[in-house]
């Protein structure tokens, strides 16, 4: 599974949070196929879950006619996951810092923070053809805060 075409998997579904568990299971299956260990699976899955929750709630405003598309790209050294919605995107000013003492006890505003904590590269992109996407990567050899070494597998089996 080395050429870019062969290693790209796309998943599309309607804006229903009833799909979140399914999406996370699929993320786990794909991350496992990509050679990630149990802990990475967990943090990748949580990041996908948060990005998809945002796509459904903020991007598509829970409109069941609007769809969410996830593209999983597997390459030798990383997995790149793109979560697309049909919304207008995120303004930087809208992304709160949940560690700010003023925000510490707020009930919301930790989703993007989790994605940024657990993935290696995270970008937000408003698409010229319409819609918005979050692009996030996880390197196979990466090590970050929320991660232990047990069960790691850095060479894709």
């Amino acid at each position: 599974m080395s050429s870019p075409e062969r290693s790209e998997i796309e998943l599309t579904f309607g804006s229903d949070i009833g799909f979140l568990d399914l999406v996370q299971e699929i993320s786990d299956s794909i991350s496992r196929l990509a050679g990630f260990g149990a802990d990475d699976l967990y943090w990748i899955g949580l990041s996908v879950r948060e990005a998809v929750t945002n796509a459904i709630q903020h991007g598509n405003k829970q409109d069941p006619e609007k769809r969410v598309r996830i593209v999983f790209q597997l390459t030798t050294d990383r997995i790149c996951i793109i979560v697309r919605d049909q919304g207008r995107g995120i303004r930087d000013s809208e992304i709160p810092d949940p560690l700010d003492p003023e925000n510490l006890l707020k009930p919301r505003g930790r989703g993007i923070f989790f994605v940024r904590s657990f993935m290696d590269n995270v970008r937000f992109h408003v698409r010229p053809e319409g819609g918005h996407e979050v692009i996030m990567e996880k390197l196979r050899s990466s090590k970050n805060e929320g991660e232990e070494n047990e069960n790691r597998n850095s060479n894709g089996e």
Binding site: L20, R49, E50, L104, L105, K106, R108, R110, E145, G146
Partner: protein, 112 residues
Amino acid sequence: MRIETRTVSDVTILDIHGKITIGEGSAEIRNRVRDLLQAGRKKILLNLGDVSYVDSSGIGELVSSFTTVTNQGGQLKLLSLTKKLRELLAITKLLTVFDTYDDEGKAVASFS
């Protein structure tokens, strides 16, 4: 998510089972806590040992419950965090906010 309620001396223990995530009865813990406060029960221990998954909404749910209780002069503490939940609370700087315990007896005894 499923919540069971127990009482040990004047502490109410909520045993929470399953997922604390968006959609999974998101407001259930908060509502249960509000009912307890209305009944005058202000020492609340959330037992999270059987919680299988928590997302950012779930963290928010714990924070809301905490502020609601604190604002009414009560105390809300956490028992038996899983390793993953402890990590989430650590990176969000909430471990310093919550009083957390691994031993139920010690947790109950800690309420003043």
